[in-house]
Symmetry: C2
Subunit: 191 residues, 2 copies
């Protein structure tokens, strides 16, 4: 019998509130992550908290800086797995793949920050490594960016296009309400 799905929560850290990042979409993403964590905790299903420990000199996410700390909505409880990474994908340079396989986990539900950087990179890795992935559309978020073409790209546009590119190829997309509504069907393997 396979494990229930693991909830993978990526980079929900204080440094992501740095105003230098500009405007973000999905301001309620953290609240939704808290509700996902509560559902997983109520069932004692696997939870993995991924923490970015940047090696870049100017990053707010360097270890030891206030920005490296968890946001309260996503802080791990005692006994919950924590993975530390220095790259974008939570599967590169970490033992996450081995840890999940050792627990029999083959299905992941993913949420966190940011949609187009570490979330997309981690979902792509997970899918290529053979996990069945559900990405929670309203429990992740993206920041606005100035494009190489001189155009402004809003956080909502970046978020949506990145989800469209992942959809079907790397994961399925569900919002938090749908995940919670169907949560007890997750233990059945997907067809």
């Amino acid at each position: 019998m396979s494990s229930p799905p693991a909830l993978l929560v990526i980079d929900v850290q204080q440094g992501l509130d740095d105003p230098g990042r500009g405007a973000r979409n999905n301001p309620d993403a953290e609240a939704r992550i808290a509700s996902l964590l509560a559902a997983w905790r109520a069932r004692d299903w696997p939870r993995v908290h991924v923490r970015h420990c940047s090696l870049e000199p100017g990053s707010k996410l360097r270890p030891g800086l206030p920005g490296n700390a968890w946001k309260p909505e996503a802080a791990p409880l005692d006994g919950e797995a924590e993975i530390t990474k220095t790259t974008n994908s939570a599967f590169v340079g970490t033992d996450l793949d081995a840890r999940l396989r050792a627990q029999g986990v083959d299905t992941l539900v993913v949420a966190g920050l940011t949609t187009d950087h570490c979330v997309s990179a981690s979902v792509r890795s997970a899918s290529d490594l053979g996990f069945a992935v559900t990405l929670v559309t309203d429990a992740c978020a993206a920041f606005e960016r100035l494009g190489y073409d001189g155009e402004h790209y809003g956080g909502e546009q970046i978020h949506r296009v990145n989800l469209v590119s992942l959809d079907g190829e790397f994961c399925r997309l569900r919002d938090t309400a749908a995940v919670l509504a169907e949560i007890d069907d997750f233990t059945e393997p997907e067809s």
Copy 2:
């Protein structure tokens, strides 16, 4: 002394012309890939051809089908490295990382199909594995998609937003003309 940059050409295969994929941007991407290959061949710099050998029943890219064949602009010459993959990232389930490191390659120039699937996945992996990556903006391309939100997303929009999300975090962006104009500066490591 480090190796010259390797040119990584991803999934330029006949099956990508399947009309079922819809409209694509950058119709001249293959011609630009041919010009990049010519420049790398003239210098005898490393070239790696990545071929997708899908395991999915309905895919046009399954081994043995006509769609698995290279497009003529990107067909390998004798002696050029070929990597076969079944996943999106050219670095998952292959020996590409080991092969490049064995040659002393630490810098990659990437082109191919499609921007948002295998190109983005491969660029993300390469960056996380420590390679310095230049992605050639007009030598890759994306297809239109119907979004999970019911909206239509054109190939050009998907292409651009995916590049914006990669830019600076996973790679630098250059067009073919810029790569060819600065090609002989590539042997100097980036600062």
